[in-house]
């Protein structure tokens, strides 16, 4: 029994690191997603250009390449990042770029009549965005956001390759201690799966809460 505990302890410690990474990078990625997604629709060419370049670069290259670049390449031009910071930065920037496309798509899906009505009652552009467009778009964003949150959770496994002791790293440790691969990796896969289900359930609860606040739920129920 003590031996089992000895083996489970690294996995649990790794799970804590994985959850920390996933939560922090999801929140930061969400902020980036709104900034870049709204920025891509901006009338200002500089903001629009920056948003497009950011989205294309981070969606067009591998997350692992981005992570290695931040961790191994940046120090050579004088910017050294702690592995945790490099990992968080790569994960947030990557998932933020994917999220930006979701934000842009959802905003563009808001019917044009809503903008016209807002103009008719003399709302400013900013007021229209925050109080008319985004609340409706937010409801549409939630299901794809749920997928991205799980995607990001799975992506955290890559930080083990830049020396962070997350769950995947712990699986390797346990494998080296026990010289057995099946229990170490099976337990790890199961923990990731359970975490993914918890994250998905959390996102669904958030989705319902937002829909209720915005009032879409009742509208949909009435059909």
């Amino acid at each position: 029994m003590d031996e089992l505990q000895e083996l489970l302890r690294p996995l649990l410690r790794g799970t804590v690191v994985t959850v920390e990474l996933a939560v922090i990078s999801t929140v930061l990625g969400g902020i980036l997603a709104f900034a870049a997604g709204i920025g891509k629709l901006s009338g200002n060419w500089l903001i629009k250009g920056l948003a497009v370049i950011y989205i294309e670069v981070f969606r067009g290259t591998s997350l692992l390449v981005q992570m290695f670049w931040l961790f191994f390449a940046l120090p050579l031009i004088g910017i050294s990042l702690d592995p945790f910071v490099a990992g968080i930065a790569a994960l947030s920037l990557n998932i933020g770029a994917y999220g930006a496309e979701v934000v842009r798509g959802a905003i563009q899906a808001v019917p044009v009549g809503q903008y016209e009505a807002a103009t008719a009652v003399n709302f400013t552009r900013r007021y229209t965005l925050w109080n008319v467009v985004l609340p409706q778009a937010l409801v549409e964003m939630m299901p794809p956001f749920g997928n991205l949150v799980v995607q990001n959770l799975k992506d955290t496994a890559l930080v083990s390759l830049i020396t962070l002791t997350d769950l995947t790293f712990a699986a390797q440790t346990v494998r080296n201690l026990t010289h057995e691969s099946i229990p170490a990796f099976t337990a790890t896969l199961v923990i990731y799966f359970v975490l993914a289900m918890i994250f998905l359930a959390g996102m669904r609860a958030l989705e319902r809460a937002i829909a209720r606040r915005v009032g879409v739920a009742q509208e949909r129920a009435r059909g």
Binding site: E56, V57, R59, G60, T61, S62, L63, L64, V65, Q66, F68, W69, F72, A73, L74, L76, I77, V150, K154, D155, T156, A157, L158, S160, L161, T168, A171, Q172, R175, S181, I182, F185, T186, T188, L189, Y192, F193, A196, M197
Partner: protein, 230 residues
């Protein structure tokens, strides 16, 4: 020197030019892994999708759980699982093949969902009409369902192909000599990581933009009312 090709470290530009052919060798492996992995994902995903829609819960339920499990756990851990566990059963594959299987396995979870959504989007009336004409199940799939499902399936599959292309970089973790691993080896030997890693990022960007454009092109040329199977 790698693959018999020397590098020139006299300046960053010369270094970049001299390692480009080496990185392109790696890119070739990247593309091969993508093609093989995607072929596996397309076939395994179809099997999973059909089994998941089976009318018997004893089949559909475990297949559904397997699909969800594969989809919701990290590729890297699945890769380690195959890489370290298969040899325990006496199955020893080269790292490249293990990597392609891992890619195929992870993405079969996604492709299965695409097939299922594509097939379930076929209106019920089509099934009823086939039944009314006394068409057997297999013929119904072949002549009615699949031809109409293809235009709905192709765009989503294209996106996953591009996504898989980027995920091949993960195979570097099990010694596959794809582009990222090649860049790392160059970095290890020259202590210059900046140029090779930046070039790998650039090459990935070029290849994904090109393949996305190709997918859009194919998408636009697909007849919307279906493709007859000969």
């Amino acid at each position: 020197m790698l693959f018999g090709i020397p590098w020139d470290t006299s300046s960053n530009l010369n270094f970049a030019i001299s390692i480009l052919p080496i990185l392109l060798r790696g890119l070739w492996v990247t593309l091969q892994a993508t093609v093989l992995g995607f072929a596996i994902a397309l076939m395994l995903g179809l099997v999973l999708a059909i089994l998941r829609m089976a009318p018997y819960r004893i089949i559909s339920w475990p297949v559904g759980l397997f699909t969800e499990f594969v989809k919701n756990t990290p590729l890297l851990v699945q890769l380690y699982f195959l890489y370290f566990v298969l040899p325990d059963f006496g199955i020893v594959f080269p790292a490249f093949l293990t990597g392609a299987i891992a890619l195929g396995l992870q993405y079969s979870g996604y492709t299965a969902e695409v097939y299922r959504a594509g097939i379930q989007a076929i209106p019920r009336g089509q099934w009823s009409a086939a039944t009314a004409l006394n068409m057997p199940m297999l013929l119904t799939y072949r002549h009615v369902v699949i031809p109409q499902a293809i235009p709905r399936i192709v765009p989503a599959m294209g996106n996953y192909l591009v996504s898989m292309l980027k995920d091949t970089a993960i195979l570097s973790a099990v010694t596959v000599m794809e582009m990222l691993n090649v860049a790392n080896i160059i970095g290890d030997r020259t202590f210059r990581y900046f140029v090779p890693l930046t070039m790998v990022g650039g090459l990935f960007l070029v290849v994904t933009l090109l393949s996305s454009a190709l997918v859009r092109f194919l998408e636009a040329r697909l007849p919307k009312d279906g493709i007859p199977l000969k």
